[in-house]
């Protein structure tokens, strides 16, 4: 059984890579850009899943961590005239810094309080971006291309993001399956037992949060290449919510669910926006629907099905 499973997973990995490579051929033109966007948000969704699914702490601040990287990237490159690659370093560094501050406060709480606190923390970032006009441009945001010349072609950008994506997904997969990741799972299932076993629970939560923030920050920095524009809506609650929705639609605690969730949510967004501007309402209804009827998401349902067969 175990061998069969690993054979299947090898097959799935090879198939996924093949799909990833052929996307620009299968979906030319603007659809390639949508695929690029899906990959970026899949990284964000998976970074959220590290906390929501594997650590049992549902964050509503990852849009802010993501957006801080985008802001720093655009500010450093377009306002200060720096190199985009140094910009990526600064952007990710800024996200890690924000994550450290958030983590120090948030790890003291769990359950609903964790959601509330991270929501409030994310809103503070949003408020600062909105009001600190001299740096962030207020509601107008920051605009300007940070993409080097050789990356400006849509297909090249896609392959660039896809390569980063593969590396990051591999890193996240290794992380959640490492002894450290398993400890996080243990904390999710029983915090008191892990403490009794001698694990330093707060330290693990802190590091888990910061690692998750690191990946969200990388996604945010990549987003700057893709979008060339950032405004308070990039760090708003809606962004955090959309990322969480992707993780939940795909299935919290499955990591790869984030990819499926991002693909579904962003494809839907693009289809829906052809007909109506009421995208936020659609997100709202999706959340209500998921919570009432399908809280375990797509991959969660598949996993439950496989478990029930065994």
């Amino acid at each position: 059984m175990q061998i069969l499973k690993s054979k299947y997973s090898l097959l799935i990995v090879v198939l996924s890579l093949a799909i990833l490579v052929t996307v620009p051929l299968l979906f030319p033109g603007y659809k390639t850009s949508i695929a690029t966007e899906i990959l970026i948000f899949a990284i964000l969704a998976m970074s959220i899943d590290i906390l929501a699914g594997y650590t049992g702490r549902t964050p509503l601040c990852h849009g802010a961590i993501f957006g801080v990287a985008t802001y720093v990237m655009l500010y450093y490159v377009t306002v200060m005239g720096g190199s985009p690659w140094v910009g990526v370093l600064f952007a990710v560094f800024a996200s890690i810094l924000v994550s450290i501050i958030f983590a120090l406060l948030a790890i003291r709480t769990s359950g609903v309080y964790f959601i509330l606190l991270t929501l409030a923390l994310g809103m503070i970032v949003w408020g600062v971006c909105l009001r600190w006009t001299s740096v962030t441009g207020g509601e107008n945001g920051l605009r300007g291309s940070v993409t080097p010349l050789w990356l400006q072609d849509k297909v090249t950008l896609y392959y660039f993001i896809a390569s980063c994506f593969v590396v990051l997904v591999w890193m996240m997969w290794r992380f959640v399956n490492s002894p450290f990741g398993l400890t996080l799972k243990g904390i999710r299932d029983s915090e008191s037992r892990m403490r009794t076993l001698g694990y330093n629970v707060p330290l693990h939560l802190f590091l888990g949060f910061v690692v998750s923030g690191f990946f969200a920050g990388v996604a945010g920095a990549l987003y700057a290449f893709f979008n060339s524009f950032v405004s308070p809506s990039t760090v708003a609650l809606a962004q955090s919510t959309e990322g969480l929705l992707m993780a939940i639609v795909g299935g919290a605690g499955t990591l790869f669910g984030g990819i499926i969730g991002a693909a579904l949510v962003i494809s839907l967004e693009n289809i829906v926006s052809l007909y109506t501007e009421r995208w936020l309402m659609v997100i709202g209804f999706m959340f209500i629907f998921m919570m009432i009827f399908a809280p375990s998401g797509v991959l969660g349902a598949v996993r439950n099905f496989i478990k029930s067969r065994q």
Partner: protein
């Protein structure tokens, strides 16, 4: 000197508004363990409903009461129509109310558009009030008065009535209360409607001096969250103390560091969480 008094009054009147909104939030949170993230959207809806009623010719008080009743009914629909399907699962409840918040916010945008509105106040509340060398808008003093009256009314409700006693008992141990033959479900519904009504009332009160616009809901929500985190779940006194703290900080923050006003409410929240994760008046469940 008069400037300081002016700012103190600004803080106090904002605190009164915050208390009205956050007390509803903390009641629902305390008794039902439901974090209603749609509370801000209910506030906004209350404001817009009041606006519509006053545009149809209703006076200020009719608008306020109409909005409170309308939003209480919305609360009833949310509770009976949606929340009961995810009963007992905190995480799903919170995320469901988040979905509701998005739907309501977008619905408000469809119904009332993205312009900024202000609810008209009665003429005798319009204009400034002179106290020695301080002149201050009459309406904001009225808000302060209403906030204090609502605090007293809620305190009497909780301390002196049977419903209040049942709510308090439910906050401490809802299982035992229902085991003693009380229909806790009914108490839950009443509380949810009362909490929603307070949000709706707050919408009208705030809509007259802070104006109504599409992102007003998330702004009031984050203030309410800060109040409840600081004050502690389900505590009226906590909500009052939290409101005063948050409002004063937000107000003086806006004066001293206008660009970082949001940051200033974050400081005390952080310090408090470091020492009292359940808030000043919060009890462990």
């Amino acid at each position: 000197m008069s400037m300081t008094i002016f700012q103190l009054l600004n803080g106090a009147t904002f605190a009164a508004l915050l208390f009205v909104v956050a007390s509803g939030f903390t009641l629902i949170f305390g008794l039902m363990r439901i974090v209603n993230l749609a509370h801000g959207a209910l506030y906004l809806f209350g404001g817009y409903l009041g606006l519509t009623i006053s545009m149809m010719g209703g006076n200020f008080y009719v608008s306020a009461i109409g909005a409170a009743i309308g939003v209480a009914l919305m609360g009833l629909i949310i509770d009976l129509g949606l929340l009961r399907f995810v009963k007992g699962n905190e995480l799903r409840q919170v995320l469901l109310t988040l979905g509701v918040a998005f739907v309501l916010n977008d619905l408000a945008l469809v119904l009332w558009g993205g312009d900024t509105y202000s609810i008209p106040v009665p003429s005798y509340l319009d204009g400034p009030f002179e106290m020695g060398d301080v002149t201050y808008p009459k309406y904001r003093l009225f808000v302060l008065l209403v906030g204090i009256l609502i605090f007293i009314a809620l305190w009497l409700l909780m301390a002196k009535t049977k419903l209040g006693a049942l709510i308090r008992a439910g906050v401490d141990d809802s299982e035992t209360v229902s085991a003693m033959g009380v229909d806790i479900r009914k108490i839950f519904i009443y509380t949810f409607m009362l909490g929603a009504a307070l949000a709706g009332l707050g919408g009208v009160m705030g809509g007259a001096f802070l104006t109504l616009y599409p992102t007003a809901d998330s702004e009031i929500l984050v203030f309410s969250l800060a109040v409840v985190i600081i004050g502690g779940r389900g505590s009226l006194v906590g909500a009052a103390v939290g409101s005063i703290l948050v409002a004063m900080l937000a107000n003086f923050g806006q004066v001293w560091f206008p660009e970082l006003a949001y940051f200033v409410i974050f400081g005390p929240m952080a310090v408090l969480l470091a020492f009292r994760p359940l808030g000043l008046f919060g009890k462990a469940s």
